[in-house]
């Protein structure tokens, strides 16, 4: 697997998100209250709202446009809403954030 360095954990605000531009479109990198990181598509499955601008709670994010809530782990919409966003493997090594490019490229192909 090819892992690409995208920055450090501290570049992302606690309970916040930053985006990475990729061939598969914008990818949102989230940091939870417990310092875990997740990567998902930045684009809401409802009407393309920018998920990186949402409020992060637990391992979930609420879309800023119409409050759909997505699991950061599975990408599944929560509650009554039905929808799915792409998720990508991301990991922390010695404080650096590594995103799995294979998964991103696979998404484009």
């Amino acid at each position: 697997m090819s892992w690409v360095d995208i920055g450090t954990l501290n570049d992302i605000p606690l309970r916040g998100s930053r985006i990475v531009k990729s061939p598969a479109g914008c990818i949102a990198i989230f940091r939870t209250a417990e310092d875990e990181v997740f990567a998902t598509s930045n684009t809401c499955a409802h009407k393309q709202g920018p998920l990186s601008e949402g409020i992060v709670h637990d391992r979930k994010v609420t879309c800023p446009l119409h409050n759909w809530v997505f699991s950061l782990e599975t990408g599944e919409a929560q509650g009554a809403d039905e929808g799915q966003i792409a998720t990508y493997p991301v990991k922390i090594e010695s404080g650096r954030l590594l995103l799995n490019m294979d998964a991103v490229v696979a998404k484009v192909a």
Binding site: L14, R15, G16, V20, K21, P23, E53, I55, T62
Partner: protein, 811 residues
């Protein structure tokens, strides 16, 4: 006899030697090196030595006699500098020793953060007796200060020990809460309270910039400019496996020396044990797994089959009075369910994490009596479906019967003297007597017994007692809670934040018994607002608890671009401002709209351009118009006496004064003002949240208007004679609204709920009015500033993408 050489006389190799000598003392002739000038001691007990509860002699596990009796050749105080695998010799500082079998047991070394000054005398790690003695010596000076970098297990034990010895201690921790790898935020909050109670200062999200001093450490500097005096600086920011010898010798390495399940490295004659090994991508930092390794290694060397497996680990902190426990996996997750119990009164927090009907993690603080039972359930993977409802109450609540599965039955089964309300000491019997005396509602119970009347966290229990006693005659209350994270209403929460002086989000989560770890998109913005409004000086605004517009200080539009609207005070502008706006609009390709709030909106700005356009507008002296906030928006004015033949007062001037006084303030919902120069009301002031109509005799102030989905005319609040009085009444009204309204209630909705008469009554008392104005001014001393300028300076990188990988994939 085979020659066995061991590098490192630490806890892992010590335990291994014991196993070998118990089973077959004659199997090897053993030589052991140790860089420390002594044999093995119980390293984890250095903390009680530091705190003064133990002497070093008491924690020695293997003394000179032991090594002599077991015929172990010791080379203590001698570091091994290399291994020659060809010749099978170990190279020590005093010479070589040949081996048949070699064991690396070099442990780990403290990670010293490479900030400027990290190599000054007075900067120590926390690993061995030398470090401990350096700390004890530093504490010998009266009134000396210590800074501990790192709020994990080691750092906190160091801090507690130094504090016991009378030092002024500050702990700096980079994450948002203490022991963030073992605890969640709520438990971290309680731990912080306990440490603070014993006089230890705790700073979270603290970034060390440098350590400075003349010839030795004297001060620690932080990124945010804070300076801390420090006679000693303890670096407890983590450990690194000591694998250098293995690396030099060309053994297979990961983050540490790689071993198989028999503790064998890539060289069949070389083994490794302890913190210097990596097994199956795991590295180790606690003794329990090292003891397992030691046993496996001893068996392997003696030719018996054995294999190491990784076990669940649990953590406790060895600081008396801080009872905490954590085990397993306690992150949130899909398919995982939290069972949370909080007793604010006793400062108890327990959280169990359940997945597929099994307990997979536990965090507890304050009451860890049942921790072993829970740890057992985790290790054994016990199915807990049957006892789920009462699981959190521990083993004594289990054992069948109706009480085990139905919470109402559990309440019914409680004895009459069981305490329900901790604050007021009300037991179940008191509530039952009240009900027998005719009480049928929650409020009734509150009035007659005081139960649930203070902190309110027992409300659910009281309602259950009512339900059990009255059956269908009782309906659980209809007042809507804030959201699914709590049973409390907005009004309850506001009251409790004030009365219990809750000044942080974790304080609210814990003391008000929140059911989720850190809220959700409904409650977080509300709580953030309440904390800002009640504790402007103590509470730090949390951008991550704000909706996108308030976080990015611009209005997000449906295509993901933003609109930027600078303030035009009272709707007045100048040719220079207009030129700056026009230039910015051209440069950033904006659509330009004149708004109903008497200013100009620039639409279609990309997020990454926001800091640049703000900076251009700032340069022309313009600041944020807060067109995106639940806060003061605009003050609309008419041209007044300056130009109009009907004007009675300087409505434009007054509007500008009011806007300059009120801007930047946060409110439950947006606030708009209008000031008209005469009753012709060209500024449409009588449909604003606050409207002022100038008349010959002075000013008519009216409030609670609306012109949106609802259209409502303002209602008269008071008539005053001078501009100064207008400013006073308007500020006081703003503050009353800020302090009392529910988040997202516009002023007219709030006034409708509390009644205009109440508002008038409060504000017409001159003392109350003055106090409100004072509190408003205090808050404004923090918030009356341009957020754009602030973000350009401190946050501009947050507006850019983290990385651009569009090229990466093509390559």
């Amino acid at each position: 006899m085979q020659k066995l050489v061991i590098i490192g006389a630490g806890m892992a190799s010590g335990r291994m030697l014991e196993h070998i000598h118990e089973t077959d003392p004659a199997a090897f002739s053993v030589t052991i090196f140790n860089a420390e000038p002594r044999g093995n001691y119980n390293r984890i007990m250095l903390s009680p030595v530091l705190a003064g509860d133990r002497s070093f002699e008491e924690i020695i596990t293997h003394d000179d006699d032991w090594y002599a009796q077991n015929k172990v050749t010791t080379r203590f105080g001698e570091r091994v500098t290399g291994i020659d695998r060809e010749r099978k010799v170990v190279i020590g500082e005093q010479g070589e020793v040949p081996y048949d079998k070699l064991i690396l047991a070099t442990g780990s070394t403290p990670f010293i953060i490479p900030v400027p000054g990290h190599d000054l005398p007075g900067v120590v790690g926390y690993r061995d007796l030398e470090d401990t003695n350096a700390m004890i010596d530093a504490a010998a000076n009266q009134g000396a200060s210590a800074v501990v970098i790192g709020g994990g297990l080691l750092g906190l034990e160091a801090a507690a020990g130094l504090r016991m010895r009378g030092m002024e201690v500050t702990v700096l921790h980079i994450a948002g809460h203490l022991m963030d790898r073992q605890l969640d935020e709520a438990a971290g909050y309680l731990l912080k309270l306990d440490l603070e109670k014993r006089g230890i200062k705790v700073m979270t999200e603290a970034n060390t910039k440098a350590i400075v001093g003349e010839g030795k450490a004297e001060k620690v500097l932080l990124d945010d400019g804070t300076e801390l005096a420090a006679d000693i600086v303890v670096m407890a920011a983590g450990i690194r496996p000591a694998g250098q010898l293995g690396q030099q010798a060309g053994l297979e390495m990961g983050r540490a020396i790689k071993v198989n399940a028999q503790m064998q490295t890539s060289d069949p004659d070389i083994y490794a044990v302890g913190e210097c090994v990596e097994f199956d991508e795991n590295i180790f930092g606690l003794v329990a797994p090292l003891y397992d390794q030691a046993k496996v290694l001893a068996n392997t060397l003696l030719g018996q089959e054995d294999a190491f497996t990784v076990r669940e680990l649990s953590t406790k902190l060895k600081v008396t009075g801080c009872d905490l426990f954590s085990a397993g996996d306690f992150a949130e997750g899909e398919g995982r369910e939290d069972i949370v119990f909080r007793d604010p009164k006793r400062r108890v927090y327990k959280r169990l994490i359940v997945e597929d009907d099994k307990l997979i993690g536990a965090v507890m603080y304050g009451d860890t009596a049942d921790s072993n039972w829970f740890f057992g359930l985790i290790k054994d993977g016990t199915n807990i479906e049957e006892m789920r409802e009462t699981l959190i109450f521990g083993p004594s609540f289990q054992g069948g019967g109706a009480a085990a599965s139905d919470p109402l039955a559990a309440v019914a089964a409680l004895p009459l003297d069981a305490e329900i309300c901790g604050c007021n000491g009300v037991c179940k019997g008191d509530i039952i007597s009240a009900i027998e005396g005719g009480v049928t509602t929650l409020d009734g119970v509150r009035m007659t017994t005081k139960a649930s009347a203070s902190c309110g966290t027992c409300t659910g229990l009281v309602e259950q007692v009512l339900a059990v006693s009255l059956g269908d005659g009782f309906e659980i209350s209809k007042e809507k809670p804030v959201c699914k994270c709590t049973d409390l209403t907005h009004e309850d929460v506001r009251r409790l934040i004030k009365s219990q002086e809750l000044k942080s989000q974790p304080a609210v989560w814990q003391e008000l018994a929140w059911k989720t770890p850190n809220g959700c998109h409904v409650c977080r913005p509300a709580i953030n607002y309440y904390l800002i409004s009640d504790w402007p000086l103590e509470y730090q605004d949390d951008l991550q608890s704000r909706f996108v517009n308030e976080r990015n200080h611009a209005n997000i539009q449906k295509d993901g671009t933003y609109s930027v609207m600078p303030r035009m005070w009272g709707g007045m502008t100048t040719p220079d401002e207009l030129i700056a706006v026009a230039n910015a609009a051209k440069k950033f390709n904006a659509a330009v709209k004149v708004t109903g709030g008497q200013r100009i909106d620039l639409l279609g700005i990309k997020k990454e351009d926001l800091p640049a356009i703000w900076s251009d507008l700032n340069e022309a002296g313009m600041v944020s118009g807060h067109a995106y906030t639940k806060g003061l928006r605009t003050v609309k004015t008419c041209v007044g006496t300056d130009w109009c033949r009907f004007g009675t007062q300087d409505s434009t001037g007054l509007g500008i004064k009011l806007e300059k006084k009120l801007w930047g303030s946060w409110t439950p919902h947006k606030v708009k003002l209008g000031v008209s120069g005469c009753p012709r009301n060209c500024a449409e002031a009588t449909c604003k949240d606050i409207g002022i109509i100038c008349v010959d005799s002075g000013y008519q102030i009216s409030v609670a208007g609306a012109a949106g989905m609802d259209v409502k005319m303002t209602e008269s609040l008071v008539d005053v004679a001078t501009e100064a009085e207008v400013e006073e009444w308007v500020s006081a009204f703003m503050q009353l609204y800020r302090e009392n309204a529910k988040y997202l209630d516009r002023a007219y909705k709030w006034v409708d709920k509390v009644g205009l008469d109440w508002v008038k009554e409060e504000l017409s008392n001159p003392d109350t009015r003055k106090a409100l104005v004072e509190r408003f001014d205090i808050s404004q001393s923090v918030y009356r500033k341009d957020p754009w300028a602030d973000h350009i300076r401190n946050r501009s990188e947050q507006y850019q993408h983290l990385a651009d990988l569009t090229e990466e994939a093509v390559a």
